[in-house]
Symmetry: C2
Subunit: 344 residues, 2 copies
């Protein structure tokens, strides 16, 4: 099976390579209708697919964008990626996922790929960690199109598309206080590397508490991949907590199933408890399960719903605009996508 390339098609159609290239790429050139058809026909006949390495090498464009995200198996990011892929495809781009595995080294390694000429741009959900600062700096200096999506790195001035995590958390806490919650316990996962999201939510919570002259009450939990199946550690942690809280602000809805299970196994099993969290709906199959479990609570349940689809599409559109230089874009813009409440 011989490789079909422009040369072969040119020979077959009795024209030059140039003309084939121009016709197949829809470039404006005045070709006779018949030659054009002859070219298109032979291309079709051989099911011609351009060698993207060659065309990219010359044109400096691959029409591929990379998504750098920390964790794809489930939850927020897999949905985000799904919507980005869809949007990119609609606009004639391939979106490619590079998993950074929530690991600063992997992340830096992956970031360096911006120089590989493989990708026209990058959407990055980064660790807030600063170990990759110099790479970002280089990307900016060489005008490589990229923007942060949901999670960003501190000290790097760049476009960001996300929910307003700080405000969401601040408002939620205020709302909780207004609803009569007094001692709200902020629960968050203890990670080697803290994300900008977690940090902002924590800050929002703390500021709202202080603004109402309340004492912030915070507690970490741990949950490894094994724990997720065994569901042990989170329970242990819960039992350690002093009984000085009437509400829980779980920093991410992703952990709701684990939290509810842990709660059920803890000494707080029958406590009247209000629960607040931040989540996303969309394609999430867990939603129903969660609602079911929440129904059994004797307190209130409020969650903020993030609009993943709009986040994904806004970011994709903006990145592609940057790549194609269509419009003059304001630099280092923060775009916050509105959220909604769900109360049940």
């Amino acid at each position: 099976m011989a490789e079909v390339n422009l040369k072969k098609i040119a020979e077959e159609a009795g024209v030059s390579i140039t003309l084939v290239s121009l016709v197949l790429n829809n470039k404006k050139t005045r070709v006779s209708k018949t030659t054009k058809e002859r070219i298109l026909d032979t291309a079709k006949k051989y099911n011609y697919v351009p060698n993207r390495l060659a065309s990219g090498l010359k044109s400096k464009k691959t029409h591929i964008i990379a998504i750098l995200a920390p964790f794809t198996p489930n939850g927020f990011f897999s949905e985000l990626i799904y919507y980005i892929e869809r949007r990119a495809m609609k606009k004639g781009y391939i979106a490619v996922v590079i998993n950074t595995f929530h690991d600063p080294k992997k992340e830096e390694e992956s970031l360096h790929l911006y120089k590989s000429n493989l990708y026209d741009g990058m959407l990055i959900s980064s660790l807030s960690n600063s170990s990759s600062n110099n790479v970002y700096q280089n990307m900016k200096e060489s005008d490589f199109p990229f923007l942060f999506i949901d999670r960003y790195t501190k000290n790097i001035e760049a476009d960001i598309v996300s929910s307003d995590h700080y405000k969401v958390s601040f408002d939620m806490t205020k709302k909780a206080l207004n609803k009569g919650s007094d001692n709200i316990l902020f629960l968050y996962r203890k990670d080697q590397v803290i994300t900008s999201t977690a940090e902002l939510r924590m800050q929002g919570y703390q500021d709202a508490m202080k603004a109402s002259s309340k004492n912030p009450l915070m507690q970490t939990f741990t949950l490894s991949e094994e724990d997720k199946i065994q569901n042990t550690n989170m329970c242990d942690k819960l039992n350690l907590i002093e009984e000085t809280f009437d509400s829980v602000f779980l920093y991410s809805g992703y952990y709701m199933p684990y939290f509810l299970e842990a709660l059920n196994q803890s000494k707080f099993k029958d406590k009247k408890l209000n629960i607040y969290t931040v989540d996303s709906i969309n394609l999430d199959q867990n939603w129903i399960s969660r609602l079911n479990q929440v129904e059994k609570l004797n307190g209130q349940f409020v969650t903020v719903i993030q609009d993943i689809k709009t986040i994904a599409e806004t970011a994709t559109d903006r990145l592609i605009d940057k790549i194609e230089n269509k419009i003059e874009l304001e630099d280092n813009k923060k775009i916050f996508i509105p959220t909604k409440y769900f109360e049940g």
Copy 2:
């Protein structure tokens, strides 16, 4: 910020381009220690990253493999992809996900990318649909490395790595019958395009029923993305079912939350019911929620657990072996990864 390429490094280090290439690629060449160090140092200084378009164009190798899968937001495939990425990365490859959106046209379009020279090989979870048959044929004729993972296309002879869906379903049905289930209802989602997996499970169920002189009892349900949130249709369907069954074989555990919710809203709410399904554990956060809900059932619950990690790693290893031609590989081999039961 000037582009750093081999030429620049060669000039800087006062050697030829060739030598730089050889040294940076660790090719066996006898260089003096000092020149080698000088080359490595200048490369490091500029943070040199090779232009993969250029190197790929010449060497015909990109060290990138593509995963073609139908649906990434959650469930089986996102985990599968996660493990493939991890394994590929460990072996020096980048794994790139191309979502086929469960759409024959998109799938065929994506398959054609094998000719783009971007990917050294492909792992494919295909529709069983035959519309792409000719592409597969071409891939085989041009010796492009690929293999099917979990889902395959009928009539295409190729390597397959998956659970033995037929046997799993057959054995499960037998087990159910042995446990005293008499009238087992096989519930499956009505799709425009039926997958090989669904077909094999259905076949296994039917054959096992017939082997015990029982009447196969089957029913489809529908569930669109909107339904997933509203959870309407599945309930409607359930209410239509005649009360001639004592057990349900739900063809995929992915639908358990919806099924249980639907059950709860149906006229079978308090019926004693045994439930059988096929699922995967690993990173799946739903697991706990499901167990919780299943606890409320008054019948038995048995599920087959697929070993996603092993499926992913076996497939990745084999594809890379094919790419690197390390060993003589048997053609068109079906590799079945063992499963386990979970009874609760």
